[in-house]
């Protein structure tokens, strides 16, 4: 399988083979982090810009380190401290940065479709590091990579995404990716955060975690945002934790080899109690180290199809019919 995409905008566009290619490439990159010189020259002389219009520490740092390990020059540009607060448009900001000779733009933005828009405007490659409630492909890839490490056979695996699925780009990307690899995806949470309409994406919807607890192989516990409660989507954080949090009691009932994932940052005592977050089923820190390998793979594959070489693939906008 030859990777020929100039951009990585989401997992909805990717084929099963392309997702596997990304995961296998990441596998090859894991070893780099174990060397005495943790650096390979693959992207030497290339420039990667992290263009983040939303606060982010781990994703940005992860991309920054991934770029550095590939010998690229990495610049960080954060929206809040920049010209956007002076009224510049997204396109203008990006075009100005690209004019400095950039090869790959990694973008995070609160608007769904922002990465797609930049891919239409810019000559260079674009990687989506999270756009609104649309997609966060590298997060889903690192989740899937982590699952695959422990459970190589994804076909038929039952993965529950628990929490605010409705507003979550992490959930959306996971659903596309996991389904393409043959996993069975459950969306679990209160009906305000997990509307029944989600079943149109092919997921099993449940509003009762205890009902599905025993059949699930992997729990991906989404972070609950306090704003959602303020908007009245669920009554109290305490009630949410009681109904949808993983605690020691529930862990006694889950499958013996069930895994617990969390994209971070964890609200301890809400999505997970500390004993679960730090327990033997938790692979949360694996997710973080795998994230580095996955982002190296994304930069490496996309970079090779950049302005110098690859063909430009027409990609679909979010919401467009295929």
């Amino acid at each position: 399988m030859k990777w020929d995409r100039k951009h990585l905008l989401g997992l909805e566009d990717l084929s099963r083979e392309e997702i596997i290619e990304l995961l296998d490439t990441a596998e090859g990159f894991r070893e780099v982090s174990t060397r005495s010189v943790k650096k390979v020259p693959a992207l030497r002389g290339r420039v990667v810009v992290n263009l983040f219009f939303e606060p982010s520490t781990r994703t940005r740092t992860s991309f920054e380190l991934a770029g550095a390990r590939l010998s690229a020059d990495v610049l960080n540009f954060s929206g809040s401290s920049s010209s956007t607060s002076k009224g510049e448009t997204l396109n203008d900001t990006a075009l100005n940065i690209e004019a400095m000779g950039v090869d790959i733009v990694v973008v995070r933005h609160s608007c769904s479709g922002a990465a797609y828009q930049l891919s239409q405007v810019l000559e260079c490659s674009v990687i989506n590091a999270g756009d609104g409630a649309h997609e966060h492909p590298t997060q889903a890839l690192l989740d899937i990579f982590t699952i695959r490490q422990r459970k190589p056979e994804l076909e038929g695996l039952k993965v529950a995404i628990v929490g605010d699925v409705s507003h979550s780009r992490v959930a959306r990307s996971n659903i596309w990716g996991l389904q393409k690899l043959g996993a069975e995806v459950y969306a679990v949470g209160p009906s305000t955060l997990v509307p029944n309409g989600l079943s149109r994406l092919g997921v099993k919807v449940s509003h009762n975690l205890d009902e599905v607890l025993e059949e699930i192989d992997v729990f991906n516990m989404l972070r609950i945002q306090k704003e959602r409660q303020e908007r009245g989507l669920f009554p109290t954080i305490r009630e949410y934790a009681k109904l949808y949090g993983l605690n020691g009691e529930r862990m006694k009932r889950v499958k013996e080899d069930a895994l617990v994932l969390h994209p971070g940052p964890i609200n301890r005592g809400v999505e997970l109690t500390p004993e679960v977050a730090d327990g033997s089923r938790s692979v949360i820190l694996d997710q973080v180290s795998n994230g580095l390998a996955v982002r190296m793979a994304a930069l490496y594959l996309v970079g090779a199809c950049g302005p110098q070489g690859g063909q430009v693939e027409p990609q679909r906008a979010p919401g467009e019919e295929s």
């Binding site: 296998d24 490439t25 060397r35 005495s36 390979v40 020259p41 693959a42 490496y300 090779a304 070489g309």
Partner: protein
């Protein structure tokens, strides 16, 4: 080339390598993926299994040079990343680097850079089954199975049963330019 020819070339190559490695103690065999690694595995078997080696025997590793290529920017798509496996300390080791064909020398340049990223070996030798000339970098092998005079348009392929080839051998294909 008949399988006997291949066997002869390999045996001569092996004997030459053994002369040096028999005098080594802290050493390693390192193959360049993929066919170099297959040959390195055969050498490991033959050098150690033959009873000639003293001490604990060599360490073994495999290199994937795809991240060290100098033509990344010229390609339309990234070469597959197969992964490098060096699980021993390179520092102070004597290393025999193994590949199937030596051509421009660019692969070996990449492999040397890659090995040096793991540490500072005492010395590196280069062993290639086939040298087909046409070097673009000042790199030569210490152990060569056979030299073939070839042109830039010729193709030289080492066939190995481990790689799902039907036979062990060296295929030489000459492409005559038709001017078309």
């Amino acid at each position: 080339m008949t399988p006997d020819d291949f066997g002869g070339i390999y045996q001569r190559w092996l004997a030459g390598i053994r002369q040096t490695t028999d005098t080594l103690e802290n050493w390693a065999l390192v193959g360049i993926k993929r066919r170099g690694a297959v040959l390195a595995r055969r050498l490991l078997e033959d050098l150690v299994g033959g009873g000639g080696a003293r001490g604990p025997g060599p360490a073994y590793g495999e290199l994937d040079i795809s991240l060290y290529r100098d033509d990344y920017h010229l390609q339309t798509g990234a070469p597959a990343v197969l992964g490098t496996e060096i699980s021993f300390a390179v520092e102070g080791k004597s290393i025999v680097l193994v590949d199937d064909v030596l051509y421009t020398g660019r692969t070996v340049r990449a492999a040397l850079d890659l090995v040096l990223d793991f540490g500072r070996p005492r010395r590196i030798w280069l062993a290639v089954l086939v040298d087909r000339g046409n070097r673009e970098l000042p790199i030569e092998a210490n152990f060569t199975g056979e030299f073939f005079e070839t042109g830039r348009n010729d193709r030289v392929q080492v066939r190995l049963k481990e790689m799902d080839d039907d036979y062990d051998g060296v295929d030489l294909t000459s492409f005559v330019e038709t001017g078309a």
